[in-house]
């Protein structure tokens, strides 16, 4: 490891060529803002399901969870489950309202019957915070992983990731981003499936034989809960943030605008949940495969965090060629996730802030496209700069933070605006700002930053993820503010919202 691997680079080069070809094709179809943000609303349920899965299955969930399972067994499964159980919530409360009430961003829905400008500003604040932290985590992960997998320097890896992603989004908009997600999801699911089959072939296709072999070598403790969940309140707080954060991630929410109607939105969540659940079951097998066939010591020697478990396993069961393929898939995975994030951040900057706040909604089509692309460039460059600035920093907490902000800033406001008649503009504003700020402040005061990052003895706030406090807080603040000062026009517009929510746009 750590040397330039020609096979991996070859596979990756093929992926880049293919996706840039797609981008070229998509660029010719991207003529309006509706193409740029929402792929012309022509994506099918299966395609969007794959793209949702592609947006969601990050390198952290592939390499990270396989590594966690390889090093600590059962505990890795707890993480996977936390990342999956948000999808039913997306289905029951989020997907159809978004599709029927909004155009490009989730703020469209929150602002539907409220005053546009204050709501948009607060929503953009929450969205951009989520996107920024998620992007930093992805870019730093990209730099480290690609150095490990391909032997490229950290900075070069960050620049390639940022640059290629920028090409996808800038020219191909949502059409290219969707297809990059689909290609990546198929490669990742296919690669993980093939790897799992190669592992299971050695255990007469019986996962239980694999688990038994692991227990024989490392003790039955690998099949039982270990140290990951020691404090139940802490675990529930993290679980809540993962669950409701999924339903508030801007790049996931944005995908529901790419389908033609609510029924297709529903179908796409079913597919996405099936793929993601299947993928997490596969990573469990891959982790145990690495534990038995590679060995915990070898996994730890390659990377103390365990990130190399899946690639090492690929080399062990499929040889160097397969290692190259899996490495290229991991790189593709990061690229696709970063592209989705950047597009959703660009939508918040251009559609929410420029079009609806600065220009008050009166904007010609051409200007919308130009501003969207400028916003994309700004975010792409920012992603590269942040990736380089945070080199060598411990950014593992940033994904948890992004989920905590998404769950506290976006989810409560979204649910209240759709399902609770007395909700007001001030209530929405207060809820989103309270959610974002409380998540930021409490993460800073938590052991996650104070102990793990700053190296202090103890932290003022006991929970590692603040979801258990900040999510209820955002709900209470939103409800209390709305009840204190009712907004008659918002309540009067509720029947129209309800009508459009269920019957769709005319």
């Amino acid at each position: 490891m750590g040397t330039v691997d020609p096979v991996a680079i070859g596979f990756f080069f093929v992926f880049i060529m293919l996706t840039l070809g797609i981008t070229y094709w998509a660029a010719r179809k991207t003529r309006t803002a509706e193409h740029f943000y929402a792929a012309g609303r022509s994506v099918t349920g299966l395609q969007n399901g794959l793209a949702l899965a592609g947006d969601y299955m990050s390198a952290a969930s592939f390499l990270g969870i396989a590594g966690l399972v390889a090093l600590s067994g059962f505990d890795g499964l707890i993480y996977s489950i936390g990342f999956l159980v948000g999808w039913p919530i997306v289905m029951f409360l989020i997907a159809e309202p978004l599709r029927n009430l909004g155009r490009y961003t989730f703020a469209d829905v929150v602002a539907y019957r409220l005053s546009q400008r204050p709501v948009r500003v607060a929503a953009a604040f929450g969205t951009l915070s989520v996107v920024a932290f998620y992007l930093i985590a992805q870019m730093v992960g990209a730099g480290n992983l690609i150095r490990l997998l391909f032997g490229l320097s950290y900075e070069l890896a960050v620049v390639i990731t940022g640059g290629v992603m920028l090409l996808y989004v800038l020219f191909g908009g949502m059409i290219a981003t969707t297809w990059v997600q689909i290609v990546k999801a198929v490669l990742l699911l296919g690669g993980a499936f093939l790897l799992a089959i190669l592992v299971l072939l050695r255990f007469s296709m019986n996962p239980l034989a694999l688990f038994a072999a692991a227990a024989e070598r490392y003790g039955e403790a690998v099949l039982a809960p270990g140290q990951l969940v020691s404090d139940p309140i802490d675990a529930i707080s993290l679980g809540l943030a993962l669950m409701l954060g999924t339903a508030g991630l801007p790049h996931i929410l944005m995908r529901f605008y790419t389908v033609p109607d609510a029924r297709t939105a529903r179908t796409s969540v079913s597919y996405a949940t099936a793929f993601i659940g299947f993928f997490y079951l596969l990573t469990f097998i891959l982790g145990f495969g690495a534990m038995v066939l590679v060995g915990q010591d070898a996994v730890r020697a390659a990377d103390p965090g365990g990130n190399m478990a899946a690639p090492l396993l690929a080399a062990a069961v499929g040889g160097r060629g397969f290692l190259g393929f899996i490495s290229a898939v991991a790189f593709a995975t990061i690229l696709a996730v970063v592209a989705g994030l950047t597009l959703s951040g660009a939508a918040a900057l251009s559609h929410d802030l420029w079009v609806n706040v600065v220009r008050r909604g009166e904007v010609p089509e051409r200007e919308q496209l130009v501003v969207a692309r400028l916003a994309t460039i700004v975010l792409g460059v920012l992603a590269i700069v942040l990736g380089v600035v945070f080199k060598g920093q411990n950014v593992a907490y940033m994904v948890g933070l992004a989920f905590a902000i998404a769950a506290s800033a976006n989810f409560p406001a979204l649910v209240l605006s759709v399902f609770w008649r007395p909700f007001t503009t001030r209530g929405a504003q207060a809820s989103m700002i309270a959610g974002t700020l409380s998540a930021l402040v409490l993460i800073y005061l938590s052991p996650t930053i104070q102990v793990s990052v700053l190296g202090r003895e103890a932290a003022w706030f006991p929970l590692r993820n603040p979801g258990l406090v900040t999510i209820p807080l955002a709900f209470v603040v939103g409800i209390a503010t709305s009840l204190l000062r009712p907004e008659r026009s918002a309540a009067e517009a509720f029947p129209a919202l309800e009508r459009r929510l269920h019957l769709g746009a005319d």
Partner: protein
């Protein structure tokens, strides 16, 4: 025959009730699993057959339960909900 407005708000509250029930069910399943992991570690480590611990089984079942809850919702929505929506739209 009920008027249009009542029919719509009936549909809205039926959808809301089901969505809320299924959300609560998912949370109940997931948080029970987490609480078991926190408080009943030895129990979850019990081997049912060689290689399969109770914890692994329950974890996999948590994922399966997410699929089942979604399936219940989609069945209701594609069938009952969509039919009512079509009727209501047709009445405009």
């Amino acid at each position: 025959m009920k008027d249009h407005k009542t029919a719509l708000s009936d549909l809205a509250s039926a959808q809301w009730r089901l969505a809320l029930t299924l959300t609560a069910a998912m949370m109940a399943v997931y948080f029970s699993f987490i609480l078991l992991v926190a408080f009943a570690k030895p129990l979850l480590g019990t081997l049912l057959v060689p290689g399969l611990s109770l914890g692994t089984l329950l974890g996999a079942l948590t994922i399966v339960s997410a699929w089942i809850l979604i399936w219940i919702y989609v069945r209701w929505a594609n069938d009952h909900y969509d039919r009512t929506v079509t009727t209501l739209r047709g009445r405009d």
